[in-house]
Symmetry: C2
Subunit: 167 residues, 2 copies
């Protein structure tokens, strides 16, 4: 059985996993959100092998989350390019914050999270906002109904459409 091509799946979350479903990809994005732009800085901050870093940067660039920008020789100090977040990459920031919030709650040791984020202008702590129900309580998976969207295929319509029960 061959490796499934996630870019050809209908579900956008699945397509996202074609690039974000590699464990280093999220950490490269983390670094980009924290201001890293140069190959050697990514390499040092992540402790990642250069060939793996090259592959992740290439994929994030191919999928349009980063762009590779030539540096002028005078600014470069050795590096010839830097990697900058695109609009698509920057728009992932809220999802990163939501992931970080969960990870800080569930994947942190007793010592607490290694970094905290604050709004630079105000010093206000930055956190992903909770997703609330109409009643003002945290929205749980069992509170939702899944419906076919405009891009639903036949299988999705059969599964979630009409009067079918789902839970």
């Amino acid at each position: 059985m061959g490796r499934t091509d996630f870019t050809r799946m209908r579900c956008p979350v699945a397509r996202s996993m074609a690039v974000l479903g590699e464990r280093w990809a999220m950490l490269v994005l983390r670094e980009a959100f924290y201001g890293t732009t140069r190959f050697d800085a990514f390499e040092q901050n992540l402790g990642i092998a250069p060939n793996i870093l090259s592959a992740r940067l290439r994929e994030l660039t191919e999928h349009g989350l980063l762009e590779r920008v030539p540096l002028s020789e005078t600014r470069g100090a050795g590096a010839r390019h830097e990697y900058r977040l695109t609009e698509k990459g920057r728009d992932f920031f809220p999802a990163y914050l939501a992931l970080k919030a969960w990870a800080d709650r569930w994947m942190t040791g007793p010592e607490g999270p290694p970094v905290v984020l604050e709004e630079a202008a105000t010093g206000r702590p930055v956190q992903a906002p909770p997703v609330l129900s109409s009643a003002g309580t945290p929205l749980r998976p069992e509170d939702i109904r899944v419906l076919p969207g405009p891009g639903a295929g036949q299988a999705t319509r059969a599964r979630f459409g009409g009067d079918a029960e789902h839970g």
Copy 2:
């Protein structure tokens, strides 16, 4: 160079990637959020090879996002276990919604997203809330300052602590 053990990294986001940094893991969680509990239902809804599904379910269970619950023989209809979201798994739902919102914006074809979510009780569309700055505009990566948290190691303190510039 051996494969890095992400569970031993200090960053909780990195630790999360030990389980969520495999592309099928997020889709198994998606199914769990949409109500799937049985092995054969995961297999059918995902179109995933059984050995890969077994591995992902085992890892999600080992990391405490799912629990494997024995079914009574009368209820089972063939299946002996079901996989239920734990509190830790359910708490990932806001992060899933934030990922889905981004994917629906950037990874969807012209036909639009295949599924939409609504609050079952009210029919209200369910969406991840935006992360806003104090000024009420979307918070951008360049609006934040990264600071060492209580669990910061020496490298993190040296990088983000004190008067050091970062950007």
